[in-house]
């Protein structure tokens, strides 16, 4: 690239954040949450295998104890962030109408926050005996 021909300011170029001002934030965060999901997800599968087929009281007792509750909350946060970034990638790649794209991204954010909030609230209610 010839520096003399660019419309970009020197500050913009040196910050290296690109047109969306996010740089490699999403790229890195997707890998970070992906690694967290793999570890927490395996813990989640083991947790589910210990409660599957158990009666109500046993399931509540297990899910409300500290370690399982923490695993669930951390998994929900990590998965929510991972899911939201992943959906943005899909929307940006395949939704070409500008208005529809913004709408899809806003809807995606609302959906993610709603799902995460409900899921985390359910675990906290179990853990703190609501």
């Amino acid at each position: 690239m010839m520096a003399g021909n660019t419309m970009r300011t020197p500050l913009s170029r040196v910050l290296f954040l690109g047109a969306a001002h996010m740089g490699t934030t999403h790229f890195w965060r997707q890998r970070l949450t992906g690694a967290a999901n793999a570890v927490l997800g395996i813990a989640f599968i083991i947790l589910m295998l210990t409660v599957i087929g158990r009666p109500y009281a046993d399931v509540v007792a297990t899910l409300s104890s500290p370690l399982p509750a923490l695993i669930l909350v951390l998994l929900f946060i990590s998965v929510a962030i991972h899911m939201r970034i992943g959906m943005q990638v899909v929307v940006e790649d395949y939704v070409h109408s500008e208005s529809l794209k913004v709408l899809a991204l806003v809807g995606s954010t609302f959906f993610t926050v709603a799902v995460a909030a409900v899921a985390i609230f359910a675990v906290l209610k179990l853990a703190f005996g609501g």
Binding site: R31, G34, I45, L49, I52, F121, A122, V123
Partner: protein
């Protein structure tokens, strides 16, 4: 969510997930998640610059599918054993 709502809600959710249709969804969901996780691990390998060649890519894709089916069968088998 159902467990946090009430015992009655739990019974409804538990009954559905215990039905053949609920188990089918659980198995499909488990397979999808495991396949997605292995796909993510494949991206971690690519991030190190390895496995980018044409044969390596094809082999990884096939290994991903095979391993996801095998792991899902193992998880489901353990699920039925401990139930």
């Amino acid at each position: 969510m159902a467990a946090a709502t009430s015992e009655h809600a739990f019974q409804i959710a538990d009954g559905f997930l215990g039905s053949w249709f609920g188990i089918l969804i659980l198995i499909g969901f488990a397979w999808a998640l495991i396949h997605h996780m292995l796909g993510g691990l494949r991206h971690f390998v690519w991030d190190t610059g390895r496995g980018m060649g044409k044969p390596a890519r094809d082999n990884l894709a096939i290994a991903n599918l095979v391993a996801s089916v095998v792991l899902t069968i193992i998880v489901v088998a353990i699920g039925f054993m401990v139930r």
